[in-house]
Every structure is written in C-alpha cells, then in structure tokens.
C-alpha cells in the first residue's frame, strides 16, 4: 500500500457533505477520503484520456493534481476531450483543464506544467507526486513516462487507444512489470497511425480514461485488486473486454537513466525519410487557381483516403489514395490519367502527396505537390472546406 501521510489532513464540514457517498462506503470512509486528499497525482497530457480521468479525479477529491501539457485546444479535440469547451479553442489546454477542475471541486490544488515532458525535466516533476497517469499520445513520451516512473519509483497508470480499441494496465506497482516488459521496443515511425491519421471513436478514451481514474483511486485507497500484472483490452466496436497476463520479462535490461527517446523511437529516421521528398517541386494554391481559371491542361490527383474525399474536394480532382500508389496499382492509374498533361497532386496538408510524388518519380512520372494541400486551398479560395 502506498505510503501516504494523513496525520495533518482534515476534512471540513463542506468536504464531508461533498464526499458523503464515499464516506458511507466501508472501503473508503473518512480515512480513505483523507488518503485521496493527501494524494498527489500527476497527469501527463490533458487530451482524450486526460480529460475524463481529470474530471473524475477532481470530483473524487484528490488533493493535488499536476498537469503536464504544452498544447492548445483545437476544434478537432472537442469530439472527445470533454474537459475542454468550445470557448477554450486556441487557448492552453492546461488552463482550460484547471478552470474546469476548480469548477467541479475548489478543494483540489491544481499545479500546471506548461511544457513538453522531456528527459531533462521528467525526474524533477515526477518527484513531487505519488502516482503518474499516462495520457500521452506518442511512443517517445510513453517510454519516457515509463522510465522516469521506474527511476523515481512511482506507479504508472497506463492507458492507450487506437480507433475502437483500448489498452489499460498499472505498471511499476508493488514490484510488478513496467511498459518495457510488455513492449521492449516501439514500432518504427509511420507503422502505427496516430489518432490524427487513423481517427478515434470519441467515446473510447472516455472509457479507458475512467478505468485509469479508477485504478488511481484504488491505489491511493489501497483497496481492491489493481490491473498490476494484467493487460486489459477493450474493443468498443464489439463491446468486448479481454484480459491478458503481464509478467516481468527477465530479458528487459534494468532502467537506470533516461535516454534520448526521439532517437529510441526512430524519429531521426523519419526526418531522413522526409528529406527524400524535399526535392519534389511544389505549386502554390494561387498558381493552381491561375491554371484553373485559364483553362490550362493539367491533371489534379487527390491521394487522400475515400472517407476524406467525402468530407471535401477540390473541383476536378481524381481520387487515387496513397495506399493504392504504394501498392503499384495507383501508379498505373496516374500514368494513364496524365498521358502527357501536367500532373498536380494534393492531400490534406502536403505530406502524403509528397510521398506519392516520390514514388511516382521512381516510376518516371514527374509532378508538382500542392503546397499545404486541400487545407491551404480552402484557406485561400474555398471557405466551405473544413479543417478536419
């Protein structure tokens, strides 16, 4: 059981009323509620997972909540990041989250770290807390959170999501396994799409985040059986829960210091990959518009996915998804389509179209990349195009 000093923790009459449904639970009671109040929980990220878990941890009466995030609220966050409201778009997430937490529970102390979690600051920040909750959205930060938890001896309440599936467990608790015992290495960049690329059901992080909040409260109370040693899998589409055994792996090297996590996750390789597309010629939205207005002969290819094409299009564009170009079929299609005409390729913001053009170039087809993709086109000429 986590060592928490409750000798100086008192609950006021207002707090006793607020937490009365907890107090009448024998597993919580006044002593348990004092443990929650004495508890210090650090949440990394206030996005899809962070939103629901912070709301419930605040309501449950956790005495001190630390928030690490450097991001601002975006319109595309609001479908799942329920701690943030529409009026907070373009403002810092941690300010928005603090505002909402204090509205729910003014007895909660909220400490903000408006920074990216780095190897240089993680140990200092973690040192002040009893439990760390991982609500991040990328592999480098997940390995950093794990390693920093192992070094500072903090339980790591883990959750992660992809499209309709979620995983949750508790790492580094009571001598149990950590993230590296589950996955010794991250996948190379680009192999597993992020939520921004792959999409995510908005409700999914709600459920996984609430599981993380539940485990956090149980660890503070010292009650029940946590997910330590068990990996919980959730499939929202089929509404199925499964549980797998999670053990320490004797082959896992001991974690003694923090490393360069970008490098560990192969991010510099991704930068090298980007250089391959650096010499692809570009065309501005203005130049494309000029060609359209002048009725010039050119072929416009859209390499996004069909469901993105459904959201918005540039007039006259032919859909040939990048995956089709990668598999070779699309290359043949583009060749037949262009037949000597000038080729212009676009995607959402210019990354995938550059990749497509690099593949086409190898097949002897030259073309130009629309700068900033359909989003830049929308900014310049078509306000009906949403920033999806």
């Amino acid at each position: 059981m986590l060592d928490l000093d409750t000798s100086n923790t008192e609950l006021s009459r207002e707090e006793l009323e607020r937490y009365s449904r907890h107090l009448i639970l024998p597993e919580v009671g006044v002593e348990g509620q004092k443990r929650l109040k004495a508890g210090k929980v650090l949440c990394i990220g206030s996005g899809g997972l962070g939103s629901p878990l912070l709301l419930y941890l605040a309501a449950a009466g956790i005495g001190r909540l630390g928030l690490v995030d450097f991001d601002v609220v975006d319109h595309s966050n609001l479908q799942r990041q329920i701690i943030h409201g529409t009026s907070w778009v373009d403002k810092p997430k941690i300010q928005s989250a603090k505002n909402r937490i204090l509205e729910i529970n003014p007895y909660c102390q909220v400490d903000l770290y408006e920074t990216r979690l780095e190897a240089s600051n993680a140990l200092d920040i973690f040192g002040d807390y009893d439990i760390v909750v991982d609500g991040t959205d990328n592999f480098p930060t997940r390995y950093l959170v794990n390693d920093a938890c192992v070094i500072t001896g903090k339980p790591n309440v883990y959750g992660s999501i992809f499209r309709f599936e979620g995983q949750a467990t508790v790492f580094n608790y009571e001598g149990g396994p950590n993230y590296r015992d589950l996955y010794p290495e991250p996948p190379p960049p680009g192999l597993v799409p992020s939520c921004a690329e792959g999409g995510v059901l908005g409700i999914l992080p709600g459920l996984i985040g609430v599981i993380q909040a539940t485990e956090t409260v149980k660890i503070l109370l010292g009650k029940g059986t946590t997910l330590n040693g068990r990996l919980l899998l959730y499939d929202a589409l089929n509404m199925k829960f499964r549980e797998l055994k999670l053990r320490k792996n004797p082959a896992t090297p001991p974690i003694t210091e923090l490393i360069d996590y970008e490098q560990f996750c192969g991010i510099p390789d991704a930068a090298a990959e980007q250089e391959k597309t650096a010499d692809i010629p570009e065309i501005s939205p203005a130049d494309l518009k000029e060609r359209m207005d002048a009725g010039k002969d050119f072929v416009l290819v859209d390499v996004r996915n069909p469901h993105e094409y459904e959201i918005c299009q540039i007039p006259g564009a032919t859909l040939i998804p990048l995956s089709k170009i990668e598999s070779g079929d699309g290359v043949v299609e583009v060749k037949a389509l262009t037949n000597g005409s000038e080729l212009i390729v676009h995607c959402k913001s210019g990354m995938r179209s550059a990749k497509a053009l690099a593949i086409l170039k190898e097949a002897g087809i030259e073309g130009k990349n629309l700068q900033g993709g359909i989003l830049a086109w929308g900014d310049a000429y078509d306000p009906s195009i949403p920033k999806y």
């Binding site: 990220g45 996005g47 899809g48 997972l49 962070g50 991982d134 609500g135 991040t136 959205d137 990328n138 592999f139 997940r142 959750g159 992660s160 999501i161 992809f162 499209r163 309709f164 599936e165 995983q167 589950l182 996955y183 010794p184 290495e185 991250p186 996948p187 192999l191 597993v192 799409p193 992020s194 939520c195 792959g198 995510v200 992080p205 990996l231 899998l233 089929n238 499964r242 549980e243 797998l244 055994k245 999670l246 053990r247 792996n249």
Partner: protein, 92 residues
C-alpha cells in the same frame, strides 16, 4: 486442428478486414506461418528482417504471452485454442 487467431484493428488492413481467422497448425509457429503465407503483407509487420517476431507485437496463447511459455513459438497446439496478436498502440 484449427485454432482461432484474433487480428487487432491496426493489422486488419492486411487480412481483408477480418477480425478473426481459423488457421491450422500443430504449434504456434506453424499457425503464424500459415497466417503470413495467406496474408503476405502481414509478414513485415510481425517479423523483422532476421525472421524474429517484432518487439512491439505480442502474441498470446490464451492469456499467456508466448515469450513466457517454456517452448515459446514451438508450443504444441491441440486445436480450439485462441491466439491473439496484440500490437503496441500509443493514442491518447
């Protein structure tokens, strides 16, 4: 001696969107060989260049990680078992 292989969302693009497959094999290794010979694009997602299972894709027999089975991938199967592939995901 067919066993059920559960395919996770990120890899379903390579199995024609099938969530679960019935495959033959007398041990785990044979089942995975059958899987990757039927769905060739899966191979590079499951194995590295040296032909070893990748470190960010876990394979479970029932609820046990095959890394922790005495015979690992050579663990014999009697039929009816469930093999799950569980890759690392990071969304939040």
């Amino acid at each position: 001696m067919a066993v059920t292989v559960l395919i996770p969302t990120p890899l379903r693009a390579y199995t024609g969107n099938q969530e679960s497959l019935e495959l033959e094999g007398s041990n785990i290794s044979e089942v995975l060989d059958n899987l990757t010979s039927t769905y060739g694009d899966l191979k590079k997602h499951l194995y590295n260049a040296e032909g070893q299972l990748r470190n960010f894709v876990n394979v479970y027999l029932g609820d046990e990680d095959i890394r922790h089975l005495d015979k690992g991938q050579e663990t014999p199967l009697s039929g009816g078992e469930t093999i799950s592939i569980v890759p690392s995901i990071a969304g939040g």
